[in-house]
């Protein structure tokens, strides 16, 4: 089974040289720590920076320099700042090659829910709706089940949607799955996880090929 860093590490294998990448809050942020050697990518944060670097050294933090999670960050050489309309022009205009974000639920046709629990929690969608509506390549990073042990990979989402038919791939603590033709296609098992365990934790339609390799991290 993977921990959050393991999920990030597996997703980092999807990075390709020259990609501009938008990482959401939570597990997706960790992807930046696992960029494969020999690959150059640039991170976009939708509040207005391309070329986002790591957290600053203690004492160097700047209130004017944050990421979309409101965390203090640094700007790498070659970085650029821009306004919010320009930022979402990059996103809507499909100039960002990969979007990684978290989710509360994903459905077998690629719907995603991650912004609202009616009657309980309303924080808002932030940039998530713009990102999922426009990005070509969307990977969801999340735990396979919620805290109550219920599957987050469903036939239909029960929570209010963030976007429809947009998620292409899901990487969880248990598996890497592709979404196509109205089903989750099991691509890889997390280390030490059996196909049976994945099957039991997946409520949506799951297609299992004859051979399901274990992830190589």
């Amino acid at each position: 089974m993977l921990d959050k860093n393991g999920i990030a590490q597996r997703i980092a294998q999807e990075l390709q040289d020259g990609y501009y990448v938008n990482l959401g809050i939570g597990i997706p942020t960790l992807v930046a720590n696992h960029i494969p050697q020999g690959i150059d990518v640039e991170f976009q944060s939708e509040n207005g920076i391309l070329g986002m670097g790591s957290f600053p050294f203690e004492g160097d933090e700047d209130a004017d320099l944050i990421n979309a999670g409101k965390q203090t960050i640094t700007a790498l050489p070659g970085a650029v700042f821009f306004d919010s309309a320009m930022s979402f022009a990059m996103i809507r205009g499909q100039h960002v090659q990969l979007t990684v974000l978290g989710a509360m639920e994903v459905s077998q046709n690629g719907d995603i829910a991650n912004w609202k629990i009616p009657g309980k929690m309303v924080k808002g969608m932030g940039g998530a709706m713009d990102l999922v509506a426009s990005a070509d390549n969307i990977i969801v990073a999340m735990m396979h089940t919620n805290r109550a042990g219920e599957s987050k990979l469903l036939a239909d989402c029960s929570l209010p949607l963030t976007g429809v038919a947009c998620v292409k791939k899901v990487v969880t603590n248990l598996a890497c799955l592709e979404i196509k033709d109205g089903a989750f296609h099991l691509l890889e098992r997390a280390p030490g996880v059996t196909v049976e365990e994945i099957k039991a934790a997946t409520a949506g339609k799951l297609i299992i090929p004859d051979e399901v390799p274990e992830m190589k991290l």
Partner: protein, 234 residues
């Protein structure tokens, strides 16, 4: 000579703002917010405001201060976490909230300032956001119609400004400030440093002064950090 825009402080800048008006306030989280003007709005006690701002501040800073005093009737935002008083007022129905996708919010402000009444975007199609909105399919993909936003007053913060109202922003404190500056009937810019005309390089100005009606240098800036994340010096 430049057109006269300089005012001496937040009090003079906010003159004319009345209860019931619609305000745009720049900033993302607490980054790039017009601190001095917000503090003065609290002092003025204007009520029933409609505030268009990406976030609602935190409980005791930023727009949270206006929420504490129940001065806001309606918020138009994309993300309002981080604020308990906000959540309380929203769930109890005291506060009207219109949540819209961040990119649509930015573009609606830009459109408002650019004379474009509405536009189609894919963001929000098939979700609550798209309910009741006109849908059109372009290149096989459904889009929803979003209308431009304008405000009685737009209040922004810049790093440097000159007496002609030209503005330069710093780092990610730029965020919504330039697009909101465009969409105010009256735009107030509070700046960290106000310089005479001729001192800013015209090549490096982000917001042309034509969009700014009043400008002043803020008395002080707390610049509170919402999430202080650092790495240790090894």
């Amino acid at each position: 000579m430049a057109i006269h825009k300089v005012v001496s402080n937040a009090q003079e800048a906010c003159e004319g703002i009345e209860s019931g008006m619609t305000l745009m306030l720049g900033g993302f989280g607490l980054c790039g917010i017009p601190e001095n003007s917000i503090a003065h709005l609290v002092k003025m006690g204007v009520k029933d405001l409609t505030c268009i701002s990406n976030n609602a501040g935190v409980d005791d800073f930023g727009l949270g201060l206006l929420l504490q005093g129940k001065q806001i009737k309606k918020m138009i935002s994309s993300y309002v976490g981080e604020n308990d008083e906000f959540e309380r007022q929203m769930l109890s129905g005291e506060l009207e909230v219109d949540l819209i996708p961040q990119g649509s919010l930015a573009e609606r402000c830009r459109a408002g300032g650019a004379g474009i009444p509405a536009f189609f975007t894919p963001a929000g199609y098939g979700t609550e956001v798209g309910e009741g909105k006109e849908v059109r399919v372009f290149k096989g993909k459904p889009h929803i119609l979003e209308h431009a936003l304008t405000a009685d007053y737009a209040i922004v913060r810049a790093w440097k400004g000159d007496t002609a109202g030209n503005l330069i922003f710093k780092a990610t404190a730029r965020n919504f400030n330039p697009v909101m500056a465009m969409a105010g009937k009256i735009t107030i810019a509070e700046v960290e440093e106000l310089v005479p005309i001729g001192e800013l390089d015209p090549n490096e100005i982000h917001t042309p002064g034509i969009f700014v009606q009043r400008i002043f240098q803020g008395k002080s800036y707390e610049k509170r950090i919402e999430q202080r994340t650092v790495k240790p010096r090894s």
